[in-house]
Symmetry: C2
Subunit: 332 residues, 2 copies
């Protein structure tokens, strides 16, 4: 049988037991030119929470009664297609379920090159690494010597952003994280210049000390007050890369915006959003660079793996409570 | 004697009688290589209100007891300088006073070419026209076919933005203004495609009707709720040009920001501020273009002239009450 998690009820606030419903249906039969995929690793990403709301977004909301949408890695179990060989690892929007069918053509899945660890493929070679690379270099237009601030810095994306910034010649890289352990990790193991525990320290004051000339590039994963504080400390021609707003995704009412946005006028600043799917054509460029840095020992990564399909909702909540360091993955 | 208006007290909210103090000092004596300037026309701009607050900005606040800072056109009255001939019209930060001294070099004034109407020089050939031109084309990167929305559309800058957008091939230009007369003016005389009276109409609904494919370029002069509404209706890769935030300059507490800023992520949007002083080197390029459009009858303008130095504070308030259409100027 194929076990699946369906959206039972749109959450208000955090996802809880009533949000999803476990369902059991026969394993699907692949037709001609199709293959059966056994889902192995779910990529747990903050954006999944936004798809659960009945709100316009870059993808339509997940419908009530539909399988929870999410990126994942699976393994080809049986195949009627020349595109997929049994044993191949494939990546795509497989969803929160044990089995699905791979088709050819536009809806097809990406086959992973042999030898890439699946959990790593979901992290720095996957959406998070790509988001870090193109968000920092293309949207943010990192320049040598820049003072870079990153929120959610111990997360899968933030931790890669900081390391790429150092590799590419940033003058100073400051990360915000929510525990002292995470702060130590990003400084001691990942090479960030400074870390601020935003839960226990005064972010505005600490940033002013750490970035006396202002912030040239702020990579925003969280939104809310921290975005507002960083806007208020933007350097001349500073750039704000809007990657996510995780501090607001569970809000029950529409969040207020950053009052300091007006600093963009006086400082000639820019605030820009992006969606990594737009860069799919250029992923190989980033993946090649990341592979090189990994081989040189310049790029570190961490995965936080939890077991079992049914733990996926709790795994998603880890991103909001900050219970993870690095990439959250559910192993099936 | 030289009459001057000094900053007596920082305003909370609108400027009033207690904000400025009229002062009388001897007419200054120009030294060697200097000239005496009689101030003729004050340029009344929203940004002057921001300089009255004790807050960081792109220029330092006006000090208590200092002459109110402001751009103006003056006439050379006597001259000890080869740079300035008696009768020349000069432009610069002359301030709210009857006389000042022109120096040579870095602090020098720009001499107007003969034949340019001084009030026009303050409007489309001055800061407003330059702001419209570079804000729309350089910061906003207007593309042919764009749906453009402009707030403060009957103001000196907004009215120029809409006309330049039409000249440069915008698909649709929608202006927001605060009276039916202004709405008629920008459509009937200036060629905007549509106007919305933001004081009497439902802006969100009217914009949705006027811009069914979303807003490609929003030129923001006002901030506040209208900025938020436009962000919520941004088209894919939409751009928000932050020129000013006049709806917030008189706020007694820090205004909240636009909650819809998150739309910048899903729509891959960009919000960018600028200060026109940065473009000073490129003014001739814009002035040449504007002169051509003026000669071809494609560019219309309006000046709202009030008389007497002492009416300057009330003239400034016109910008906030919307009592003007076009450029507000004080004739001395």
């Amino acid at each position: 049988m194929n076990h699946r998690l369906l959206l039972a009820k749109r959450p208000t606030g955090m996802v809880d037991a009533s949000t999803v419903r476990l369902d059991e249906v026969p394993v699907p039969e692949p037709g001609p030119r199709e293959a059966l995929v056994r889902v192995r690793y779910l990529s747990i990403d903050p954006t999944i929470r936004t798809w659960m709301d009945d709100a316009p977004g870059y993808l339509p909301p997940i419908g009530i009664g539909e399988v929870i949408r999410g990126a994942a890695i699976g393994e080809i179990e049986t195949s009627n297609s020349d595109h997929y060989a049994v044993g191949d690892l494939v990546f795509g929007m497989l969803g929160w379920q044990e089995f699905t069918v791979a088709t050819e053509g536009a809806g097809g899945l990406q086959t992973l090159p042999p030898g890439v660890e699946p959990t790593l493929a979901l992290n720095i070679f996957g959406v998070n690494g790509m988001t870090a690379y193109f968000g920092l270099l293309d949207v943010g237009q990192l320049r040598e010597g820049d003072t870079v601030v990153i929120s959610g810095a111990a997360g899968a994306t933030g931790s890669a952003v900081g390391q790429i910034a150092k590799i590419k010649g940033a003058g100073k890289v400051v990360g915000l994280a929510g525990t002292d352990d995470k702060c130590r990790w990003i400084v001691d193991d990942l090479g960030f210049d400074e870390a601020i525990n935003y839960k226990t320290e005064h972010v505005g004051r600490r940033l002013r000390d750490a970035c006396p000339k202002g912030i040239d590039l702020y990579f925003d994963n969280v939104g809310g007050e921290i975005l507002d504080t960083c806007l208020g400390q933007l350097a001349l021609r500073g750039r704000v890369v809007l990657c996510g707003a995780i501090s607001t995704y569970n809000d029950k009412k529409r969040p207020t915006g950053p009052g300091n946005y007006r600093a963009l006028i006086g400082r000639r600043g820019r605030m820009e959003g992006f969606i990594i799917l737009d860069y799919a054509d250029r992923f190989p460029e980033a993946q090649t660079a990341m592979l090189g840095w990994l081989a040189e020992g310049k790029l570190h990564h961490a995965e936080h793996v939890v077991d079992g399909l049914e733990s996926a909702p709790d795994a998603l909540n880890l991103l909001f409570t900050g219970g993870n360091a690095g990439k959250v993955i559910v192993a099936l």
